[in-house]
């Protein structure tokens, strides 16, 4: 290949990477956690959730709720869960919930007590994991969500360019150096190998994530163009035809008798025996135009976030099975696979953990990319004879890299801890975990800018480790002090405990390694504390301590 082309793509890779890298770090770190949003939501809400009723009494529950609260007939949901009482026969529990409006964050929840009397309570579910999902989608940008997603759409495009350019520039070296991992005194070479190795091994994952994220963020840009050029104005009608569950039911429809929920579930089970329903959403209950959307999952298939099927509660007919796993049409099935590849909504727990690891590896990829940018600039500056005094841009970029990455980790950990402690105790839990995230994130970035990357990397790693360690501590306290009323399903609680503990230990280890590097690394390196203002007072730039690459320096023994 021509050397000019390679040089051009090296520049494309560098600049798209440096612009998109930190947004992608946040998106990947948040996304890796979002994969587990369902069990984590149960963990954070427990045990302050609404009471459940035996599913056999679901029809009675609906009738009594609507008698007392007729306004709920417009739209309500039955939340279906497997009973966890250890009984051999599979049995289900149900909660009925409805909201005053779609945006109302405090739904009402109805249940029946042992005597069959209706109990209604307003619940305040934690918005913690929806919030982490928004951080994932918007990169944590504090704008309105649409703007955040547009920006992340552009970031996804740059990310695709960076991946493409990265593949081009590595091709000539590929045959020579594939899977090389030169651990040794040349730290930059080692980071380069780590970056290339992760990038190559997870290349299919990155292509998939870049393209799918681009569609999720920018479909509102592409659909109108397709409508004009290809579908000649028929697109809105085609979209409606593909998804009848989203159609608002007609007003003043004549009354009708509804089939019992058990019968409707049996109709779906007859078609798809392995589909496990989790939610039955009724609209216009008690009328001819009533619709029921049953959401659930079947890990043997590739689904959108969930699978779903639309049923008529009047006749029991399947109205739309496009998104019922294994029963959709050609096109819905193909596109469901694209969604599933992004959301990890296939294959169950092993795939979820694979995505967790791929997501975290992606975060390391972007972090190492930024470090390489800083390293290359440092080297060229030294060649020019300016030695260890760094340009403002390099210093700020290093500090921002450290502050944003570690601020995101510490911010999400503190949001989780605060979110769990306030869950069920305050009226507005969202305010608490949002404040925790943004305060910690902004604090870390400012701290890194003020302290300089060298010191901040060690101190913020320690800070992130301590905050993250508070997660397993919380799990432990919730378990041994039931009086705290925080205990979740023991299985989920143990899983959160273990993952939180491992994360905290990894962060402590990284903090230790980075500290050693800062203190013992070669004194002529700008990554050493030795070149910081305290050691060399005569240095010109005193406002910013010199850089230290927060890298793993393996000792030569």
């Amino acid at each position: 290949m021509r050397s000019e082309i390679l040089r051009t793509y090296r520049k494309v890779h560098t600049w798209t990477g440096i612009i998109a890298g930190l947004f992608l770090f946040i998106a990947f770190y948040g996304g890796a956690i979002t994969v587990f949003r369902d069990p984590l939501t149960r963990w954070v809400d427990a045990p302050n959730t609404a009471a459940s009723t035996d599913f056999d009494r679901a029809g009675d529950l609906i009738a009594k709720t609507l008698a007392a609260h007729p306004e709920a007939a417009r739209e309500f949901s039955l939340l279906v869960s497997e009973k966890r009482d250890g009984s051999v026969e599979p049995a289900r529990d149900v909660q009925l919930s409805w909201q005053k409006s779609r945006r109302d964050g405090a739904p009402f929840s109805a249940s029946l007590d042992a005597e069959g009397a209706l109990k209604v309570a307003q619940i305040h579910p934690s918005g913690l994991f929806p919030f982490i999902d928004i951080i994932h989608r918007t990169g944590g940008l504090p704008f309105n969500r649409d703007i955040g997603e547009w920006i992340m759409g552009v970031v996804s495009g740059l990310y695709f360019l960076a991946v493409f350019a990265g593949v081009i520039i590595i091709l000539p070296a590929l045959a020579r150096e594939i899977f090389a991992l030169r651990i040794g005194p040349n730290v930059k070479r080692m980071w380069m190998d780590v970056h290339n190795l992760i990038g190559l091994l997870s290349l299919p994952f990155h292509i998939v994530i870049a393209l799918t994220a681009f569609v999720f963020c920018l479909h509102d840009l592409m659909l109108p163009a397709l409508d004009k050029v290809v579908f000649e104005g028929r697109l809105p009608a085609l979209i409606k035809a593909g998804n009848p569950g989203s159609r608002p039911p007609a007003a003043n429809s004549p009354p009708a008798t509804m089939l019992p929920p058990q019968v409707l579930l049996e109709k779906v089970a007859a078609l798809a025996p392995d589909f496990q329903p989790t939610r039955m959403q009724y609209r216009a209950f008690g009328t001819q135009t009533a619709t029921l959307t049953i959401t659930g999952f079947d890990p043997r298939h590739m689904m959108r976030l969930h699978g779903s099927v639309v049923v008529s509660p009047v006749t029991g007919d399947i109205v739309n099975a496009e998104y019922l796993p294994g029963h959709g049409g050609t096109w819905a099935t193909i596109t469901s696979a694209f969604f599933a590849l992004h959301f990890a909504s296939y294959g169950g727990t092993p795939i979820h953990f694979s995505y967790l690891l791929l997501g975290l590896a992606g975060a390391v990829l972007f972090y190492s990319g930024n470090l390489l940018w800083i390293e290359s600039r440092r080297r060229s500056e030294r060649k020019n004879g300016s030695d260890v005094t760094q340009t403002r841009a390099t210093r700020i970029m290093a500090a921002i890299t450290v502050g944003v990455s570690l601020g995101c980790i510490a911010g999400i950990s503190s949001a989780i801890v605060i979110g769990k402690w306030v869950s069920g105790r305050v009226i507005d839990p969202d305010l608490w975990h949002m404040t925790a995230y943004y305060a910690v994130f902004a604090g870390c970035v400012l701290f890194a800018l003020k302290r300089g990357a060298a010191r901040a990397s060690v101190e913020l790693l320690h800070f992130a480790a301590v905050v993250t360690a508070a997660i397993p501590v919380t799990c432990f306290l919730a378990m041994i002090f039931p009086a705290l009323k925080m205990e979740a399903d023991p299985q989920i609680n143990q899983a959160v405990f273990i993952v939180g503990l491992v994360a905290a230990l990894v962060l402590f280890r990284l903090a230790g390694l980075t500290q050693r590097r800062v203190e013992e690394g070669p004194a002529d390196s700008i990554w050493s504390l030795a070149s910081s203002p305290e050691f060399q007072v005569q240095r010109r730039e005193r406002r910013f301590p010199a850089l230290s690459l927060p890298s793993i320096k393996l000792r030569q023994r």
Binding site: I5, Y9, F214, L226, V230, E322, G329, W331, T335
Partner: protein, 98 residues
Amino acid sequence: MSDLESDYRQDWIGKTSAGVLLGFGLAITLAGFIAWVGPQGPDAINKYQFVLWIVPPIWLGTAAACYFFSSGLKAWLWLGSANLLAYGMMVLARSLFH
């Protein structure tokens, strides 16, 4: 080859604009062509979603690959012709299958 190599110009603005703008046009029209010639016609249930999903690989692939062109002008000429060709193919397919 060495005299050819010197022909390569960076032309950041020319190539990037060609890749982003003409890449978008190419992606929309090629997706439209596939919508018309592919099985079941463009109005099949939920096929519009598939058509939407074809756009980003073509668009971003073009935007990413256009630095292989040796100049911005060449990028505009080649991708412009590709746009016209794809649009013609789509109109032809539409008139044949309508």
